[in-house]
């Protein structure tokens, strides 16, 4: 994906016309409009409990989308995050249920194992020079398969029936469950957004990543170790996908088959919507968070308006298409 590059070549805005205004503030205006519309149509929408509900519902999407944002910032694209999240979910629950590990051990082991996914991705992309999107698409299936093989296609939970007929004895620590509950789940999300925002915007390394995403050739000729940063981006992407998967596990306390897969599209949408927020014109953490908020509000509001869950994808897909339209129309 050369999204960032495409935007680079965009012509300068000669006049600050209506479209530029829309590009900069469109997402925020849309969010405001949605809040007004849903607020008017449903009494409970603006209740504090519902707002917390929305934030809780987007936290996993946001964290996974932050990983995608980092891969986008170096001009790459990581499609394998959904599968990595599924795998992390299965791993972390299995650590408790099958292996009787403690909270920290389970989380650290899960992240370390998922890091190998990032290592494989970056090795294939950087060394074998496979196109990012194609490779991560392939790896999406590989990791999905690994996760399913690991769980033997079963749903993992406390007291689950093991293949030999006995019941598992491991217990999921109540402390772990806390991670998936308010307020911790929201706090973790906000911390992740803040850290990555500071990293991308205020550190040397973030700047290098944007430079690489903006023009890889120029970055190389400026003496930036391009491949090191691309590897780092895919490792970070895998780490955030793993964190997303772990929190998902904490929230539902089970590991279903392909549990992380549905988060992929929402995350991609959030990251792309984020491009345009406040006219950044490039992947950025705050924008990604705003994108996730937009999707979360949309989803929550539509549920309240009794739109059936099976029609939800139509709306979400349309929003993504619209966000892409704004980004690429601008890029023309």
């Amino acid at each position: 994906m050369n999204t960032a590059k495409t935007i680079q070549t965009s012509k300068a805005p000669k006049s600050f016309g209506f479209f530029d205004f829309l590009y900069k503030y469109g997402t925020l205006i849309t969010i405001a409009l949605l809040i007004i519309v849903f607020g008017v149509m449903s009494d409970s929408f603006l209740q504090p409990s519902n707002i917390i509900n929305i934030l809780r519902s987007i936290s996993i999407v946001t964290i996974i989308a932050i990983g995608i944002t980092i891969s986008l910032s170096v001009g790459g694209f990581d499609l394998s995050v959904g599968s990595v999240a599924s795998f992390a979910n299965a791993l972390v629950i299995s650590m408790f249920v099958w292996h009787g590990q403690g909270v920290w051990m389970s989380i650290i082991l899960t992240i370390l194992i998922c890091l190998t996914a990032g290592i494989i991705n970056s090795f294939m992309i950087v060394k074998l020079k496979i196109q990012d999107m194609l490779l991560t698409l392939a790896m999406m299936f590989v990791f999905q398969g690994i996760a399913q093989t690991y769980t033997k296609g079963a749903t993992l939970s406390q007291n689950m029936i093991m293949p030999d007929g006995s019941f598992s004895t491991g217990i999921i620590s109540p402390m772990f469950a806390k991670i998936g509950q308010v307020p911790w789940i929201i706090i973790i999300m906000l911390v992740v957004v803040a850290i990555v925002h500071v990293f991308l915007t205020y550190t040397k390394h973030g700047r290098y990543m944007y430079v690489i995403g903006g023009n890889r050739e120029a970055a190389k000729l400026s003496g930036i170790p391009v491949n090191k940063y691309r590897v780092a981006a895919y490792l970070l992407s895998a780490v955030f996908a793993a964190i997303g998967g772990i929190i998902l596990g904490a929230r539902v306390m089970t590991a279903e088959v392909n549990s992380g897969a549905p988060y992929l599209m929402d995350s991609v949408a959030a990251a792309y919507i984020g491009f345009a927020v406040l006219g950044a014109g490039k992947p950025n953490a705050i924008g990604t968070f705003v994108g996730a908020v937009l999707i979360g509000i949309l989803q929550n509001g539509l549920v309240m308006l009794s739109v059936p869950y099976y029609a939800m994808d139509i709306v979400k897909g349309t929003v993504l298409a619209f966000a892409l339209a704004i980004t690429y129309y601008k890029a023309k």
Binding site: I7, R207, V211, E217, G223
Partner: protein, 504 residues
Amino acid sequence: MGEGKPIKLQMKDISIEFPGVKALKNVDFMTMTGTSHALIGANGAGKSTLMKVLSGAYGHYTGEIYIDDEPVQIRNPKDAKDLGIQIVYQEVDTALVPYLTVGENIMLDYSVNDMGKKQVVSWGYIHKRSKEILDKMNVKVPSKKLVSELTLAEKQMVLIARAISKTCRFLILDEPTAPLSHSETEELFRIVRDLKQEHVGVIFISHRLPELFEICDDITVMRDGEFVVNESMREINQNQVVEYMLGRKLGDQFPQMDIQKGETIFEIRNFSDGEKVHDINIHAKRGEIIGIAGLVGAGKTELCKALFGLGRANSGDIILHGKKLRLRSPHDAVKQGIALVPEERRKEGILVGESVATNLTAVNLKKFSRMNLFLNFKKEKEAAREIIQNLGIKTPGENVRLQNLSGGNQQKVAIGKWLMTEAEVYIFDEPTKGVDVGAKKDIFELIFQLAQRGKCIIYASCELSEMMGITDRMYVLYDGMIAKELQTSETNEEEILFYSTGGK
């Protein structure tokens, strides 16, 4: 193929303008079928533009074109092809479809224009016909091979085959020999001679004078978009051609400064990049501006990039301050004190979507960060402003995206970023390409200032006047090798051109 009787092609009074530039001014051109005609001029003389007019790529010219004294209209490529005028461009890859076979590529025009109502491709016909053409050219390339598997020379043959697959009375070859090896060039010449026998008129653009004398019957020289002379090859010699090609000098553009030269700090010994450049030996003193002269395709860019750690199979020694450098990547080169301002600035030198400040500090962010991690925006802004002022970069502010600046100012940013870091050796590859005269002067002054601060400058350019104006000493590159080392004060443009066109 053309008929027995020679046909005359005439272009009269051709002018063409592009926004801001008058590329051709009342140019006349005349050639016949059955002969080969050389078209020559320095870079930017308008040779390629004239041939693009003739092949229908530029429809908005003024003037007349006659074939056998009949006026004809050529406003698009189809007009030209219908009249039997075919062109093979220098960049062969732009005209070929790599994942189709040789046969399909040769018969591309047929598939696009001559299939009529037929919907089904006849593979038998395509391969039979393309094999016929290849056999006639005596070229041994299997018609069922994929184009992506061909060498550059073979691709060129495929394009020539495509050109003569239709009526071909005039064939334009735009710098066909630049990327070819010696034996491949010989093969091309054989085909050109065969085509002449077949009554095709070949128009041959090249920078290499000796080969023009070998293959061409007549010559037209252009300079600065104007016609200079049309002569028979027999009536003219290499020195005369060079004289015709040279324009007026731009001497006063260059700053006059006496720069103290120091000791030799940079040396290149027996250097080769394993592909294009070989046996390079260069040495440079502090404060010295070394020119790398040579025509397009001589290997200047390849040399510059290889010195910056980009070659894949470099051999030989690069020595700075008596220490042998190991340059595996540009990252190493920058760390060791080498800077490169690349030729393709939009592609390789700058980030058009980022601000001026981001561009200027990209090379040395360490200097603008606290604890080597967090960016110091204030310091970055101050440094950017200083550079903007020193270089006279015309921008509304340091936060403006680079795409809003003119080419010359973009180039100044591309150079300016290297001033933020303390390099010892600055390599410039065609720094004035696409830059207007005013900005050119600023860039020259900048280079002089660097030299004054005791830096080594390596300045690669195909502009002879710049070589004369800015360098202290130069190496003339021809075909990837140093043909001659010249002291600028003891040479002239003619001599440089003589060596860059293969003179011995």
